[in-house]
Amino acid sequence: MRHLLSIADLSKIEAISILDTANELARVSDGAVKKLPTLRGRTIVNLFAEDSTRTRISFEAAAKRLSADVINFSAKGSSVSKGESLKDTAMTLQAMGADAVVIRHSASGAAQRLADSQWMSGSVVNAGDGTHEHPSQALLDAFTIRKHLGLGKSDLEGLSVAIVGDVLHSRVARSNVLLLAKLGAKVTLVAPPTLLPVGVESWPASVSYDFDSVIPFVDVVMMLRVQQERMTEMYFPNAREYSRYFGLNSDRMKSMKPGAIVMHPGPMNRGLEISAEVADSSRSVITEQVTNGVSVRMAILYVLLTGGSLEAGGN
C-alpha cells in the first residue's frame, strides 16, 4: 500500500489490519512510552488547503509520536494564497524530500491527482477532499465502534449504524458508508431528500427520511455536521425545523437501544444537529473519537511508510 486516497481502494483485510495495528499502537500510547523511533528521519508534510483543527493536529500528533519530522503547510500564509498551483506546491515538496504528504483540499479528487501525477514520489494520504472522501475519519470511526460494540470480533458484522444529517456535503458519510458496509455493518442514511446526493441508491446503504422510525433499532447514531459553508441554496426551511426532524436531542436519545452510542466527526453545531445534553451525555463517544484518531493515523502512517504490503505474524 503506497497511498490512502479512498476507502474504495482498501480491501476488508487491509482495513482490519489497519484497525488491529491501531489497537496495538493505542496500547503503546496508553503506557509509559509516548514516543516510538519507528519513522525517525522521515518527513511528513501536512498540506492543508482548507481549514481544519482536529485532523491536522491529529496527523501531526501521530507523526510526532512515531518520531517523524512534521512540516505544517496551510493555504493561508503560504504561496497558495498567491495563486500557486497544486503542481508547483507538490514539486516544491518533492524538492524538499517529503516522504509523505497529508492533503486536505476543497476540490474533490485533489489527493488522487497528487498521487497519480509524477510531481512527487512520496505517499499521499487523503485527509479530506471536497465532498468526496475522508478515509482516516472513517477508519477511526470504525475503530471506535469496534472498541465499544465489536464484542472482540475483528469486523462489524451484525451491527447497525444510522448516519444522520447532511449526507450531500459529507465526505465523512461517503467514506463511512463504504467502510462500515465493507466490515459487515448495516448502514441507514437518514436525511431530508434535499441533503442526499444523486445516486445514493447505488450506495451500500438504505435510506430513510424518518429519524424516529430508525433510532430505536440502531447500535450507533452518527450525526453529521450541517455544512453551512458549502450550502449555496436553501436545503431546508430553517434551522429550527431541521433540528426538530433530524437533530438528536435528549428526548430522541431516550428511544435509543441500551448500550447504543452517539458519534459525531466534529466540529459540532451544538443546538442544530445535536443538542448540548446529548453531546455531553454518557452515550457520546465524541471525545474518544478524537483520541482514537491519533492511534488510527499512526497506524496509517506506519503502514504507508514502511514499504510493501502488510503481512501477518510478529518478530
Binding site: S309, G313, G314, N315
Partner: protein, 177 residues
C-alpha cells in the same frame, strides 16, 4: 530438512535453561521474563512455569514486541504489531531475561534493548534463546542457549511450538554449502 531438536530435547533444554537462570540470578526473586512475540513469548511462559515449579513462587512474565523498533522498517513490508505486556512489577531494578526462539543476526535483540530502554532501567538484561544459529551482525551474545546449531546463511531454522503449531520441533531447512 533435518530435525535438530525433538519435543523431549526442547523440554530438556528449557528445563536446563530454567535452572541456569536461577543459578545465575541466585533465585527467582528479582527476575522478569520477557518473551519476544510470537514464539519467544510462548517459550518465556514455559520457562516461567518450570521456574515456578522448581521454586514454588510465581514468576513475573510478559511480552515485548519489537516491531516498531526494528532498523529495517524502510526495507521490508510492515509486520503486524504484536502486544507488549509488562508485568505489574515493572522492569525497574529487576533482572530482565529476554527470551527468543532463534538467535541469528542479533538485530532483533538490539531492537528489544531499545524497546526495553523506553520502558525502564532494569538492573541487568540477559538473553535466553532456544537456538543459537550463529552469523551475528552485532556484538550480542546469549547468556542461556538451548542448543548451538551451526548453519549456513542460506539455510533456515524452523521452530515449531505446540501452542501455535500443534507440536514441538526444531528443524533446519535447505542445504548447507
Amino acid at each position: 530438512m533435518s530435525v535438530a531438536l525433538s519435543a523431549p530435547d526442547i523440554k530438556r533444554a528449557l528445563t536446563r535453561i530454567s535452572h541456569e537462570i536461577l543459578e545465575k540470578n541466585q533465585g527467582a526473586s528479582s527476575i522478569v521474563l520477557l518473551g519476544i512475540p510470537t514464539r519467544g513469548a510462548h517459550l518465556a511462559q514455559r520457562i516461567a512455569s518450570i521456574i515456578s515449579e522448581i521454586e514454588g513462587v510465581e514468576i513475573s512474565c510478559g511480552t515485548l514486541d519489537i516491531t516498531l523498533f526494528r532498523d529495517d522498517l524502510r526495507l521490508r513490508a510492515p509486520k503486524a504489531i504484536m502486544p507488549t505486556t509488562i508485568p505489574p512489577s515493572g522492569v525497574e531494578n529487576r533482572d530482565v531475561i529476554l527470551v527468543d526462539d532463534v538467535l541469528f543476526s542479533g538485530r532483533t535483540i538490539r531492537s528489544a534493548l531499545d524497546a526495553l530502554g523506553e520502558i525502564g532501567r532494569p538492573r541487568t538484561v540477559q538473553l535466553a534463546a532456544l537456538v543459537d544459529r550463529g552469523h551475528r551482525e552485532l556484538p550480542i551474545k546469549a547468556d542461556f542457549v538451548g542448543k548451538n546449531l551451526p548453519t549456513s546463511k542460506s539455510q533456515s531454522v524452523r521452530v515449531l511450538l505446540s501452542e501455535i503449531d500443534g507440536r514441538d520441533e526444531v528443524s533446519i531447512e535447505g542445504e548447507a554449502n
